[in-house]
Subunit: 209 residues, 4 copies
Amino acid sequence: MIYDGQNQVDSWEEVLLIYRSALRKVNTKLEILNDEFQHVHRYNPIEHMKSRIKTSESIVKKLKRKGYESTIENMVEHVDDIAGIRIICSFSSDIYQIAEMLVNQNDIKVLSIKDYIKNPKASGYKSYHMIITVPVFLSDKVVDTKVEIQIRTVAMDFWASLEHKIHYKFEGNAPEHIKEELVECARMVSDLDARMLSLNTEVQKLLDS
Amino acid sequence: MIYDGQNQVDSWEEVLLIYRSALRKVNTKLEILNDEFQHVHRYNPIEHMKSRIKTSESIVKKLKRKGYESTIENMVEHVDDIAGIRIICSFSSDIYQIAEMLVNQNDIKVLSIKDYIKNPKASGYKSYHMIITVPVFLSDKVVDTKVEIQIRTVAMDFWASLEHKIHYKFEGNAPEHIKEELVECARMVSDLDARMLSLNTEVQKLLDS
Amino acid sequence: MIYDGQNQVDSWEEVLLIYRSALRKVNTKLEILNDEFQHVHRYNPIEHMKSRIKTSESIVKKLKRKGYESTIENMVEHVDDIAGIRIICSFSSDIYQIAEMLVNQNDIKVLSIKDYIKNPKASGYKSYHMIITVPVFLSDKVVDTKVEIQIRTVAMDFWASLEHKIHYKFEGNAPEHIKEELVECARMVSDLDARMLSLNTEVQKLLDS
Amino acid sequence: MIYDGQNQVDSWEEVLLIYRSALRKVNTKLEILNDEFQHVHRYNPIEHMKSRIKTSESIVKKLKRKGYESTIENMVEHVDDIAGIRIICSFSSDIYQIAEMLVNQNDIKVLSIKDYIKNPKASGYKSYHMIITVPVFLSDKVVDTKVEIQIRTVAMDFWASLEHKIHYKFEGNAPEHIKEELVECARMVSDLDARMLSLNTEVQKLLDS
């Protein structure tokens, strides 16, 4: 949500309502695109989706880390992933297609993109992130609301679940050999994704010819 | 869907996809409005909702009755209830509030309204009907798509289910005494709705004072 | 859940897990019966269902009213409606059919029945209540778990929602004229249900003859 | 469904109803086990599930291949996967735990097990298959009904989707180099699964010590 003086937000409960509405709306858009893709290309690019609202604890923690007080204004302004949707697809080529289809819709604005697939994190993390806004229609106003979209393959997602667990359990200080092993697993994930994509492309070419 | 030459619709399957998408979109809008209403007024105006796509058989039948050939153009042009949503609420006063909240959204256009609550059918049928259009975002175009909205109370809905069954089973030619009995039941439904609404209003007044 | 020494229940969280599982199981049984009924009789006796777990606040309040300490043993022993399912159907004749179909299943035990349809409460309340137990299969044990089933018509349910709201808002002490008005509405509900059932039976007879 | 003379099945529609009911029941059992596992071990072994009823076309094709006529008796007797559930989990160690938890339930009978994880197919296919029966309670009888359970990791599932597509598109006669590439990908999947499981076990050991 792009916060401004006019759209006075009077309580955290109303803010949550708005983010929840934004999630519903983006979910619906993605279901429609997936149906259309299935109709045209005869396969579903979206394997499955998960959406979540960030817990108040995590939001407060993030504000603290960034040096802001815990006010509703600061949450809305400085925490971009209060509403989040994760899209899991089969092949890395699907990722860019889904992102493009979503971004082309004229009521969606893209605030920022982080392409951790072209530029993976040091940990080995790969995923495509976007912060977008979507208009939420309330009975007396329209509120442009921020949603973080993460798009990744099933293999990247499998790796990310384990990495998240390790990061969380060791509070960011995992032993060095564990970190190295994770990086090695990330490399295997990338190799598998590349090999499977190339096989899929080869098969497609044979069938089209 | 407002059909025109540019948005060439190439197959019935694609048309269905678009109507299904419109249903999803209106459903999402109504869920958001219900949440907001619950937040502000502490009760849900929408008791429950049902949505459906008309079967091809019914569409063809309707076109025939209206004297049109069974082409996709004619379906899209002349059958307004291919996509339909029925909203069931507790009190008749909720009906107009829901209708207004929906219609106020700036991407919705109202094509027509039939208020069978103020002007019930001879059979006794009461319900509030609107034909609206909602824009469906596809990957390469936006299609304004027609959806029929029916709003009624739980008691009206109970009556309408029985009336539908009778109409369908007797193919429109129910015996006279059955029709009369239906009209009498419709009167009882209206009395009950009026009495319950008045009790609810009275209770609300006592609590607010 | 029938509590005994062998099936030691060690925490409230586990107890909730068991009640939630019992709800899932009874819901599944009812969906299966509804499907079968639809297959054989060509109509769904179950209009819709709602299930809920009682909140801890309500459970503690009920124990207090009954003069028991708030221990897990007392909850499991003395609160019969921790897990509850409400079944809404069209006609009062459906109520007894659904109850019988459920009770006939050989893994369900009926602990008690309260027929507030034959014997309405003074308030005008009508509904059919059963306390049953259903076995929940956990990885190392089977726990017979209590579930309260309430079965009523759409019209009874409409009335009960308003009565509940009034009872709750006035904390049981609604003004006399409000209570009388409620009783009058309950009478109208019963008349409507009776008239609609009789019309439905008449229609059925005409069609079968 | 174990077919016998007494439980005469009079139509394909009723048979489908029974298989659908069996799917619902096994799904409910798995959701309950997943909840319990989450409660005890603080993680969900089941990443997600998919269930399906085999299409009539596939059933008829399978019967033909096996040399049987297309009768309902033959379908029920000779096609074991009319109702199927696929369970996707993170680690290969989860697979055996889920299988054991399910099989331990005293109303489930195991008819057969095929462990394609210990003994992969020549194609590289890995998955754990069981044919079980579960009792379905109808209003007048109880029918033991067959369900095929497939359990595999996310990585195995990713591979299996591509393999299925290739097998289907080339009607079983994929070019040799495609088949070899698939086997190579299957090897990479196994390596990744083994490495991730070993990392997960190592992490768990460090945290427990």
